[in-house]
Each structure stands twice: as C-alpha cells, then as structure tokens.
C-alpha cells in the first residue's frame, strides 16, 4: 500500500465532498429544520445533473445559466413532493419516493438523443468543445481553476445565503414549522405552505449540487442519485457527531454538514485504498449511517438503564 497514492486521492475527496456538501445542506433543511425525511433528493440530484449537461452540450448554454435552470428544476421537484404531501395528504416519505420514481422517466426524456431519438442513460460533456464551471481533471493542479477553490467559494456563498434566509421573518417561521407545527399555526404560520417552500428550497440546492457534480465528473447519468439521501444523511450526522459540541451557531452547523461530506469522502477514499472496491461503497455507506443513527438511541437506553439501577 502506497501512502502517496492515498494522499493523491485526497484532493479529489475534498472536491467531491464540497459538491456533495451542497446537497447535504439541502438534506439538512428538510431533515433537521423541517423534520421531514425527503427521499426526492435521489431523483433530484440526477435531474439537476441531466438538465445542466443537456443545456450545456445540446444548447451550448453558459454553465452558470444551466445551473440556474437546474436549480429551478429541483425546486419544481420539491414542489411536486410538497403538494403530494401537504395538499394531497400523502406521507412525506412516500411522496418523495413517488416524485423520485417519476423523475427517472423525466430524466430519460431530458437525455433522449435529439437526432436518433434513442433514450440515453448517460451523456458526457466533451470538455474540449464545451466550457464547464469546474472539472475533476484540474483537481490536482495548484492553479486558480482547481475546482476546490470554486467549490469553497460556492459553499461559503450557499451557507451565507441560508444563514440570512433562516434568520429572516419568513425563515424563522419555517424553522417554527419544523420545530412545532401546532405552535406555528397558533402564531398564524401556514404550515402546509411552509413545508412546500422548504422542500422547494432543499431540492433546488440538491439539483444545483447535481449540476455541479455532472460537470465535475464530466457526465450526467440517470442513476447518479441512487443512494444520495443516505450520503446526505451521512454528511449531516458525521458533521453533528464531530462538530456538534463545538458549533452552536446556525452558519457553523451548516459548515459542519459540508465538512461532514468531506470527511465522508475521505473515509471512502481510505477504504478504497485499503482494498475495497466501489461496488462495496453503498453497503459501507448504509452501515455508517445505520450505526451513527442508532448510536444516540443506544446511548440513551444505556443511560436510562443506569439511572434505573441507581434509583433502585
């Protein structure tokens, strides 16, 4: 095992972690702030990637304009889940699964070859023909076009925007929707609409992250979002476990999510370096999230057991 090889893998892990960190901030908004487990994200990250790649390669769009549209497409997906949940009364998890399933067909439509009309699961960007905002091929360079610089900037901007938004009157109201729906309604807050808005914002960010990811890796794939929610949760939980005691401020909590995603990808690189293959990663991710989600519960149970003994 060559340690230099591992070190060489780290910049890539940071780049990927920063991109998935944006997505994980989206997950944080639904999972932690709104208290909804939104499974739409698996579909939304692919939709964001597909929309961006098609706009760039087929229509020759500027990558940033393409990412803006991808953000909008994500918001639309969030709107669908939100309406299914809030208006139609479908449980949030199921609403997300339905949207995500439908998105698969929509992604294939978006990706359909305009000439042959054949459906394509995968479209790559010819980097010599089309400009992209960031590319993994530059991740080992020290130049300014190293995607890590751009992603740092984007991450700071997203965190700053979210910090501002959730500090506004409307943002505070959204936080109340997640914290205590009954209280929110008693204070005149439309909780149904609030959930829809939160889901839209979250999925907008996820799609934006998907658009960044597709450029970074040089292609979009209709499968690229499979298991994304679990990676997002892993980032949220790793960030909380490691930085939870340190970071109290809301902005820092979001930063912890992004750092959680980076740590997640570093760990992934390490286990790959240790000899696991990419085929094993989904299993590993599921295990990590299962363990971290169960730790607080088991800890509580053990503490309660001890308390009972102490009283006896």
């Amino acid at each position: 095992m060559n340690i230099l090889q591992l070190l060489n893998m780290m910049p890539g892990a940071v780049g990927q972690g920063l991109i998935w960190g944006i997505m994980a901030i989206g997950v944080y908004i639904t999972y932690r702030i709104l208290d909804i487990a939104d499974l739409t994200v698996d579909g939304t990250i692919a939709t964001g990637g597909c929309v961006a790649v098609i706009l760039i390669t087929r229509f020759g769009w500027n990558p940033w304009a393409a990412m803006l549209i991808a953000f909008g497409a994500g918001m639309l997906a969030g709107l669908v889940t939100g309406v299914l949940h809030s208006v139609m009364g479908i449980p949030a998890i199921l609403a997300g699964i339905l949207t995500q399933l439908a998105q698969y067909s929509i992604d294939l439509r978006i990706m359909t070859d305009p000439v042959t009309l054949h459906s394509r699961a995968n479209v790559s960007i010819n980097l010599r023909k089309f400009p992209v905002a960031l590319s993994s091929s530059k991740v080992l360079t020290a130049a300014l076009d190293n995607p890590i610089w751009l992603m740092l900037l984007v991450t700071v901007a997203v965190i700053a925007l979210m910090y501002w938004f959730f500090g506004t009157e409307y943002g505070c109201a959204l936080r109340a929707v997640g914290a205590n729906g009954q209280m929110a309604r008693a204070q005149g807050i439309n909780t149904s609409l609030g959930k829809v808005v939160g889901l839209m914002l979250s999925n907008g960010l996820v799609a934006f992250s998907g658009a960044l990811l597709s450029q970074y890796q040089g292609f979009a794939d209709v499968q690229m979002g499979r298991g994304a929610i679990v990676i997002g949760l892993a980032a949220v939980i790793i960030g909380e476990v490691i930085f939870g005691r340190l970071f109290r401020n809301f902005g820092l909590k979001l930063l912890a999510v992004s750092l959680g995603a980076i740590i997640y990808y570093m760990v992934i690189q390490i286990v790959l370096w240790l000899g696991l293959t990419t085929d094993d990663l989904k299993m590993l991710t599921a295990l990590v999230v299962a363990v971290f989600l169960s730790v607080p519960n088991i800890k509580n149970r053990l503490l309660r057991g001890k308390g009972a003994k102490a009283r006896a």
Binding site: E169, C172, A173, R175, A179, R185, A186, Q187, G188, I189
Partner: protein, 264 residues
C-alpha cells in the same frame, strides 16, 4: 367579541367510533368578558375551544370573532385574532428555538412574514421588559433554547406570547392542568393579571371548580356537547362548589364523573 351560533361537530361520522362532540352550541361573549368553562370528561370543552381556533372544520353553524366570520378560515388565518395557551406546556412554544425567537414569532402573529430580519433591533428591550414582569429570571436567558425551560416557565412564556400582540380573544385550554399546584397558582395569577391589565376577552377551560367560580365574570358548564348552565357574575359570587355540583346533578340527572374536578 365572540359569537358562536348553533355549532355542531361529530367526529368520525358513520364509523363505530362516531362521537357527537358539540350539539347546537351557541355562545356570545361581550368585549372584556372573562368566561370560565367547566364540565366533565368528554363534555366538549376543549372541542369548543378548538372549533373557535379552527383546529378542525365544524359541521354546521357559524363562528364570528370580533365581527369577522371565521367559520371557513383555516387555523393559521384565525390566529391573527386569537391568543392561545394549551394544556400541554410543550405545545405553545418551539423547543429548539430560543426565547427571543419564540417571542418574535408571537409578535408577528397574523402579519405577513417578510424577508426582513427575524428579530428587529428594538424588539429585544421590549421582550426583556415583558419577561421581567414574570419574575422568573427569564429576561437573562433570552438566547437560551426554550426546551431548557421547565413546564411552568414554558407555560408562562406561552401566556406572555399569546398576549404580546393583543388578541381579540384569548383561549386558555386547561392551561394549568399539567403543572404542579404551586406553579399552577402562579400561572393563574399571571393569567388574571394579563387579562385585567389589557382588558382582554377570554375563554378559559378549567377542571378546577373553585378557580372557575373565583375567576372571570361568567361561568358556563358543559355536558355531552351542550352548554347546560350559564352563570352571570352576580350568581357566580353567591355560588359554592357544592351548589354547582348540585345544580349539575339536577340538570344532567347524573353526578359529575370527573375525579379531578371533585378533588379540586
């Protein structure tokens, strides 16, 4: 201030758990009225309050608050007119948000929420002053999460939040029932103080008959979804808990089936 006209409500109609909760309820409150509501378990006291608050749509009849027909308005729209305190101290506040954030949410009750900053620069002094009137030391804990407060503190805060922006009608749903007797008394005193100072119109459900007679200028008794007794201020003054129980027995043909109430 409040006009309830012939309101009906049946839960789970057509099923085995069908429950007629409100039967032809009519009640008028004049501005400044402080009405206490008593009755046994399942009498419809909380259901009546929730019908006013809009927790569920009613089957028939109409509800007007401050002259405004709210019968078809959703709960969050009626909130502009109402201040509410619930039985469970956890219900009225957001545990994961801090005191001043909770109060800022309450101050904006019924207003459009904009993209202005959530707590205005000048508001903190106002919250501090309001909290200091509670004499619980909460004015020094404005940036603490509400989840760290005790049940009594949270209930006092909820009461303060319900009246921070003067409501047309204050709804108190057994708001001291979950508190220990000493804390309950404190919260009750605070309730009376706020209602008197601000001249509020209030509807208070209580299981404590002595409180029901001692507080407010009118008492109504409910039984099986109906209002069976309506006492004005004069009659109330002369009444004892024993008189009230006797009246209940005469009208309903039953003894009051609420253990909590008999003990009070």
């Amino acid at each position: 201030m409040l006009e309830i006209e012939h309101v009906f409500k049946t839960f789970n109609p057509g099923t085995i758990t069908e429950k007629r909760a409100l039967t032809d309820i009519s009640l008028h409150l004049a501005p400044g009225d402080f009405v206490t509501v008593i009755g046994g378990n399942g009498a419809g006291k909380s259901t009546m309050l929730n019908a006013v608050a809009g927790t569920f749509p009613v089957d028939g009849g109409s509800i007007r608050i401050a002259g405004k027909d709210v019968t078809r308005l959703p709960e969050y729209r009626r909130a502009a007119l109402l201040g509410r305190v619930f039985q469970d101290p956890m219900t009225g506040t957001a545990a994961t948000m801090n005191l001043e954030e909770n109060m800022a949410l309450a101050l904006r009750r019924g207003q459009r929420r904009t993209l202005r900053w959530g707590i205005g620069a000048s508001e903190r002094a106002r919250y501090r002053e309001a909290l200091s009137t509670l004499e619980l030391g909460l004015e020094d804990r404005m940036s603490s999460k509400v989840g760290l407060l005790s049940g009594g503190q949270r209930q006092a805060l909820t009461l303060l939040m319900a009246t921070l922006k003067k409501p047309e009608l204050l709804l108190l749903d057994e708001h001291t029932a979950a508190l220990d007797p000493k804390t309950a008394e404190k919260v009750l005193n605070l309730t009376q103080k706020l209602i008197t100072e601000q001249g509020l119109t209030a509807l208070m459900v209580t299981h404590n008959m002595r409180d029901a007679l001692a507080l407010g200028n009118r008492t109504i008794m409910m039984h099986e979804g109906r209002i069976i007794l309506d006492l004005d201020a004069e009659t109330k003054k002369k009444m004892t808990v024993e008189d009230l129980l006797a009246r209940f027995g005469r009208i309903s043909g039953k003894t009051l089936d609420n253990d909590r109430m008999l003990l009070a």
